[in-house]
C-alpha cells in the first residue's frame, strides 16, 4: 500500500470534520484494504469509524429494525431478533464472504461501496429500507445509483439502516465460483403492500424487477415466475457467465428464494 495517515475519531462530529477535509471513511476494511494493497486506490488519510458509538447497535424502532452502520456481518447473522423478523437479511449476512470476512466487514461499508456483486444492496433495496446518514434519510429506491455509485455526498456517513419488517424474506445467491461474490443474488421480500424483488451481481448495480414483483405479488409461489421474461440486454457478461445465463439464474434464484421464504 502507499503511505497514509490514520485517524480514529472518538465522535461522529470529529469524524465528519476529517471526512470533510478529504479523509477516506474506513469501516471493516475488507474491500478498501484489498484495493489499497493492489495500489488501485491511494487515500491520503483513513478515518477509522470503529470508535463511534453512534454507528453501533441493533434495535427495534417501531415497525423497523435499526441496524447501526458499523455492525459486522457476523453480528447481523447471529442476532436473534433479526433472524426471527427478517430471516432473509440474517441469512444473507451469514453468507457474505467467509467467517473471517464476516468478523470484520460492516453493513455500512458494504452499502456505501455499492459493489455491483455485493449482497447487502439487494436486501436494502428489496426491503425498502431507509438509509440514515449524518444529515438525512434516503429511501432505498433513491440510494443506489449504479456501479460503486450512491446518493451519498462527499463526506456523508451512513449511521444506520432502518429495515422495515416483512411478512417473509429470503435471499438466494448463486456464487461466482472464484470470487464467491454473487453471479446472481436475488432478495425477495413480501409485505402487506406486495412483493419487492432486488437483484445483485447480474447488472451494473442492484436493481428491482417489475415483472418478478408483479408475478409474485399476485401469487407468492415459485411457479408464479415461470413465464416472466428477464431481459438480458442490460446484464453483465464476463468470463464466468453470459448475460443470458445471468438472466436465467435470476429466475432460478428468485424461485429458490421464494421456496426458502415459504419454508
Amino acid at each position: 500500500m502507499y503511505a497514509f495517515t490514520y485517524e480514529r475519531p472518538a465522535s461522529l462530529g470529529q469524524a465528519l470534520s476529517l471526512l470533510a477535509a478529504g479523509g477516506q471513511a474506513f469501516a471493516g476494511g475488507q474491500t478498501l484494504l484489498a484495493s489499497m494493497k493492489q495500489r488501485l486506490l491511494s487515500p491520503e488519510q483513513l478515518v477509522d469509524l470503529s470508535a463511534l458509538s453512534e454507528l453501533q447497535g441493533i434495535r427495534q424502532s417501531g415497525d423497523s429494525w435499526m441496524v447501526g452502520a458499523f455492525t459486522r456481518h457476523q453480528e447481523v447473522a447471529e442476532h436473534a431478533g433479526l433472524r426471527a423478523a427478517l430471516p432473509g437479511l440474517a441469512a444473507l449476512a451469514a453468507g457474505i464472504g467467509d467467517r473471517q470476512v464476516r468478523a470484520m466487514g460492516t453493513l455500512g461499508g458494504s452499502v456505501a461501496n455499492n459493489d455491483p456483486a455485493a449482497c447487502y444492496p439487494s436486501a436494502v433495496l428489496a426491503l425498502g429500507a431507509t438509509v440514515h446518514t449524518d444529515r438525512r434519510q434516503i429511501a432505498a429506491d433513491d440510494f443506489f445509483q449504479g456501479m460503486y455509485t450512491t446518493a451519498l455526498e462527499p463526506g456523508e456517513v451512513i449511521t444506520a439502516i432502518a429495515f422495515p419488517k416483512a411478512l417473509r424474506s429470503a435471499y438466494a445467491k448463486f456464487k461466482q465460483p472464484a470470487s464467491r461474490f454473487a453471479l446472481a443474488g436475488v432478495f425477495v421480500a413480501q409485505t402487506a403492500a406486495g412483493v419487492r424483488v432486488a437483484v445483485t451481481g447480474a447488472g451494473n448495480g442492484v436493481f428491482r424487477h417489475a415483472g418478478l414483483e408483479a408475478a409474485l405479488s399476485k401469487s407468492f409461489t415459485p411457479e408464479a415466475v415461470a413465464d416472466v421474461v428477464i431481459d438480458a440486454s442490460e446484464l453483465n457478461a464476463d468470463l464466468h457467465a453470459s448475460a443470458d445465463y445471468r438472466a436465467h439464474l435470476i429466475k432460478v434464484q428468485t424461485q429458490r428464494a421464494v421456496q426458502q421464504a415459504l419454508a
Binding site: 503511505a3 495500489r39 448463486f174 465460483p177 472464484a178 470470487s179 468470463l239 464466468h240 457467465a241 453470459s242 445465463y245 436465467h248 439464474l249 432460478v252
Partner: protein, 769 residues
C-alpha cells in the same frame, strides 16, 4: 523387510514433520531475515509482445533505500547468458528445436504479459515497489499470437527466428497402417479434447533469498531441485559449484512448479552477488499467476478404431501443445515424450499414430504440474473409451475388460517402447467397482432425482509412469555417538511426508525408535541429486535409504565383531545392539560409533532402480448435476489403487486424495484464460481463477490400495503415488458428467464436454437442441 516394528514400514505412523509445522515453527524461505536484508521487486511487461525501445531508471535509482536497479539490456551488454533452451528435440524438418533466447531480464523483446524487464533492490519491500513504479520502459507494441490458430496461421507474428512458431515435433507409430485400420474399423470414435491451462497454486508462492556467506553465495529457496538450481546459478554467474550452496528448508507445496530455476531466481542471485548483500524476493500471488510455470494446455484430436467386438485396432493422437513464449526442456518433454509414453495406458494397443507439436505463443511458459503429461494422456484415453462404449453399445466396463493387458502378458512392452513390469488391471478394476457399489447405482440415482438432481457415474482405469527419468539416488548414512542414525538424501520435502516414510525404512533395518532417526535433505553441501519430481522420492530415494541402511548395519556388524573380539557370524543384531550369541557380551550402536576414530560409523551408498514404476488404479466418481443451473458436484469418489508396497498408508491416502481434489479442480473449476486479442491474463488472481475450497465435496473419499502386486524395478516394491490421484480424477469426473447427461437423453452432448465444466459452460451446452 527385516524387523517389522510399530514404526516401521507398513505402519500408519504419525508424521515426524508435523509438530513443528503445527506450532508455526516451520522454516520457509520467507521466514529467515538475515541482517542487512534487502528486497527485490520486478518491473514487468504490460504487453504480450513488444520491443523494448529504452528503459529509464534514473528516477528509480534516486529514490529512498534503493541499492540497485538493473535492466535486461544492461545484463545482456554485460555478457549475461540466456537460460538453457530445450534441446534433444527437433522440428519436422529435422532442424533443432526453435525457440527464442530467454534472458533473466528481457533485453530486446518481451513475449508475454508479466515478463520481467528490470529489477529494483531496496532496503524495504515498500521502497522497492515504489522505485519499480518509477522505472520508465518505452515499449513498441507488436502483434501477438495467443491462441493456437493465431500462432500457426500463415502470417502469424513469429516469436523467434524460425519460419513458424512450431518449436519441435514428434511422431510415433505407423500413420499409414493406422489409417488403414481406421478405414476398415467397425467403430471409429473421434473426439476433440482440450486439456486446459492451469496454475499450480502452491499456497507458498515462489520464494528465494540469496546472501553472501564467507566468500560464497547461499541460496535459500523454495525448490524441489536444489542441485539443479545450483548448476544454473553457477552457469549463469560464472561461479564454480564450490562457491554456491543451495539450502532448502520447508517448502509450501511444489507440484512440479518448483522444479528448476526461474529467470527471477537468477536475477536475485545476480543482485546478491553484485551487492554482496542478502537479497530476498517473494512472489506476489499475482506474480505467480503471471509468470510461474503453467500446467497442461493442449488441444487434441483423438481417434480410436475398434472392431465389432470392441477390440481396439488403432489409436491416433494429434496434439498441439502450448509451451508458451519460452519453452523449457521440461515443458516440451512432458508433452512430446513423457505423456506419449503412457498414452495407450492399461490397454493392449500396438498400432498407434501419434503426432505432437510444441507451439510458441505469447503466454507464460508451461512446465511440470502434478502429473506432467500423464493426466493429458489418460484423459484422452478414458474419454475415448467411454465414447466408444456409447457409440458401439458395448458396456463401458466390458469394453475396458476386453482391451486390458492381462497379467500373463507382463512384462508388457507398449507401442512407445515402454515396458510395464507388472500389473493386474482387471483385478484392480473389479475391486474398485465393488468398493464403489457400481451395480447399485440406480438406487442412488433415484434418490438424487427426488431432489431434482441428475446423478452420473464415471470411471477411469489407468496407469501412469513415475521416476522423472532419474532412477539413481545417493545416501550418506551415519550412526552417531548419541545413538542417532542420520541419513542424508538428495530427495526433497514439499509436503509429501518423505522424511517420515524414509525414517520408517531406516527403522525397518535398525529396529530403533523413530525418534532416533534423523532424515536430512535440502543442502547441496551435504549431497546432490535429481531432487523430487515425477513421484520418484520413495522408490528411488527410499530404495537408496533402505540399501544404504542395510550396508551400514553390515559395516557396523563388522566393527562390532572387532570390538567384541568375536567372529561376525557369532553376532546377532537386535534393536540397537549387537550380541555375541550365547554370552552376555554386547555393544550398542551409540557406544560402537563413539569408539570409532571418526566418532561415527558412516557410509555412502548409491542405488539405482532398474526401471520406472507403473502405479495404476480404478477411480469411480459419482456426480450430481443441477439441470436448472448446470452446477456439478462430486458426491462420491471411490478408488482402488495399485501403488505396490505401502510404507505409510495414511501418507499414501493423503497423496491420493489431495491429488484427486486437484483433478476435480481441473474438471470443474480451474482455467488460466488469456485475452485472445491482447494476451492479457484475465485470470490473474483468485477472484477469477476458481479453486476447490473445503466445501468441494460433501462426502469423504473412499480410498483403497492393493499391495499384492509389488513393483519389480526397485528393492522396496513400491510404486510412486504422488500424482496418481490427479491423473485419475479428471476422466472419472468428466465421464460421470457425460453419464449424467446420457441418462437424461443428452448423450449427444458428451463429445462436446470440455473442462472446466463450470455451471455456465454446462448450462450453455445443455441449451443446444
Amino acid at each position: 523387510m527385516v524387523n517389522p516394528t510399530k514404526f516401521g514400514s507398513g505402519q500408519a505412523v504419525q508424521r515426524l514433520e508435523d509438530a513443528q509445522l503445527l506450532k508455526g515453527a516451520g522454516i520457509y524461505a520467507n521466514d529467515i531475515t538475515p541482517d542487512g536484508q534487502t528486497r527485490l521487486c520486478f518491473v514487468r511487461s504490460p504487453y504480450a509482445h513488444a520491443r523494448i525501445v529504452s528503459i529509464d531508471t534514473s528516477a528509480a535509482e534516486a529514490m529512498p533505500g534503493v541499492r540497485l536497479v538493473v535492466t535486461g539490456p544492461q545484463l545482456k551488454d554485460a555478457g549475461m547468458k540466456p537460460m538453457p533452451r530445450p534441446v534433444n528435440f527437433t522440428r519436422a524438418d529435422g532442424s533443432p528445436a526453435a525457440s527464442p533466447d530467454r534472458r533473466i531480464l528481457a533485453a530486446d523483446r518481451v513475449r508475454y504479459v508479466g515478463e520481467a524487464v528490470a529489477a529494483v533492490v531496496a532496503d524495504t519491500e515498500e521502497q522497492a515497489r515504489n522505485a519499480a513504479e518509477a522505472v520508465v520502459v518505452d515499449f513498441e507494441e507488436l502483434p501477438c499470437a495467443v491462441t493456437f490458430d493465431d500462432a500457426l496461421k500463415a502470417d502469424a507474428p513469429l516469436l523467434c527466428d524460425a519460419t513458424d512458431n512450431r518449436v519441435a515435433e514428434t511422431r510415433y507409430g505407423d500413420a499409414a497402417a493406422a489409417a488403414k485400420a481406421f478405414s476398415q474399423a467397425a467403430h471409429v470414435v473421434q473426439l476433440d479434447i482440450t486439456n486446459q491451462r492451469l496454475v499450480a497454486l502452491t499456497i507458498e508462492p515462489r520464494s528465494v533469498l540469496v546472501y553472501p556467506d564467507d566468500g560464497r553465495l547461499v541460496v535459500r529457496m523454495s525448490t524441489q531441485m536444489p542441485t539443479g538450481v545450483r548448476t544454473l546459478v553457477c552457469d549463469l554467474l560464472g561461479l564454480p559449484t564450490s562457491q554456491v550452496r543451495v539450502v532448502v528448508g520447508d517448502v509450501g507445496g511444489g507440484f512440479g512448479m518448483k522444479t528448476g530455476a526461474y529467470p527471477e531466481d537468477l536475477v536475485v542471485a545476480y543482485a546478491a552477488h553484485t551487492l554482496q548483500r542478502p537479497v530476498k524476493w517473494i512472489a506476489d500471488r499475482s506474480e505467480d499467476f503471471l509468470s510461474s510455470a503453467h500446467g497442461r494446455d493442449v488441444s487434441v484430436k483423438a481417434g480410436l478404431a475398434l472392431d465389432a467386438q470392441g477390440k481396439i485396432l488403432a489409436l491416433r493422437i494429434d496434439t498441439l501443445a502450448n509451451v508458451g513464449a519460452y519453452p523449457s526442456m521440461t515443458g516440451v518433454a512432458i508433452q512430446l515424450l513423457i505423456g506419449p509414453w503412457v498414452q495407450s495406458s492399461v490397454y493392449d494397443i500396438q498400432l498407434i499414430d501419434f503426432h505432437f507439436v510444441g507451439v510458441l505463443t505469447n503466454t507464460s511458459s508451461t512446465g511440470a504440474y502434478r502429473g506432467a503429461g500423464r493426466p493429458e494422456a489418460i484423459y484422452n484415453m478414458e474419454r475415448l473409451m467411454d465414447e466408444a462404449a456409447r457409440q458401439s453399445g458395448i458396456d463401458r466396463i466390458e469394453l475396458r475388460r476386453r482391451n486390458m493387458i492381462a497379467p500373463a502378458q507382463m512384462p508388457y512392452k507398449n507401442p512407445m517402447g515402454q515396458t510395464y513390469d507388472t500389473g493386474n488391471f482387471a483385478a484392480i478394476m473389479d475391486q474398485g467397482l465393488a468398493q464403489a457399489q457400481w451395480d447399485s447405482f440406480a438406487q442412488r440415482a433415484q434418490s438424487s432425482a427426488q431432489r431434482g438432481r441428475w446423478r452420473g457415474l464415471g470411471v477411469a482405469t489407468f496407469l501412469e509412469w513415475t521416476g522423472g527419468n532419474a532412477l539413481e539416488e545417493n545416501v550418506h548414512v551415519q550412526v552417531l555417538p548419541d545413538g542417532v542414525i542420520e541419513v542424508f538424501t538428495a530427495v526433497n520435502a514439499m509436503g509429501q511426508g518423505i522424511a517420515t516414510s524414509l525414517a520408517q525404512l531406516v527403522v525397518d533395518v535398525f529396529g530403533v525408535p523413530l525418534s532416533q532417526v534423523r532424515i536430512v535433505m535440502g543442502d547441496t553441501d551435504r549431497g546432490n541429486g535429481f531432487g523430487s519430481a515425477g513421484s520418484r522420492s520413495l522408490f528411488t530415494g527410499g530404495s537408496a535409504v533402505s540399501v544404504g541402511a542395510k550396508q551400514t548395519l553390515d559395516k557396523a556388524q563388522e566393527l562390532a565383531a572387532e570390538a567384541l573380539e568375536a567372529s561376525s557370524q557369532d553376532l546377532r543384531y537386535e534393536q540397537g545392539a549387537f550380541h555375541v550369541v550365547g554370552t552376555d557380551l554386547k555393544i550398542g550402536l551409540a557406544e560402537l560409533a563413539a569408539r570409532q576414530p571418526e566418532q561415527r560409523i558412516e557410509l555412502n551408498s548409491t542405488t539405482a532402480a532398474s526401471g520406472p514404476t507403473w502405479p495404476n488404479g480404478c477411480h469411480v466418481c459419482e456426480v450430481e448435476l443441477d439441470p436448472q443451473t448446470g452446477e456439478v458436484q462430486v458426491v462420491s469418489y471411490t478408488s482402488m489403487n495399485d501403488v505396490g508396497r505401502v510404507v505409510n498408508p495414511i501418507i499414501v491416502r493423503g497423496q491420493l486424495d489431495g491429488g484427486a481434489v486437484q483433478g476435480i479442480g481441473q474438471a470443474l473449476l480451474e482455467e488460466v484464460v488469456y485475452d485472445p486479442e491482447t494476451g492479457q491474463l484475465l485470470t490473474g488472481s483468485l477472484m477469477d481463477y476458481a479453486v476447490p475450497h473445503a466445501d468441494i465435496m460433501p462426502s469423504l473419499f473412499d480410498t483403497h490400495t492393493d499391495e499384492s502386486i509389488p513393483c519389480k524395478n526397485n528393492v522396496l516394491g513400491v510404486k510412486g503415488v504422488g500424482e496418481l490421484g490427479t491423473i485419475g480424477a479428471t476422466p472419472a469426473v468428466v465421464n460421470a458428467v457425460a453419464d449424467a447427461l446420457a441418462r437424461h437423453g443428452r448423450a449427444d452432448l458428451s463429445p462436446q464436454l470440455q473442462m472446466p465444466l463450470t455451471p455456465y459452460r454446462l448450462w450453455r451446452l445443455m441449451q443446444q437442441g
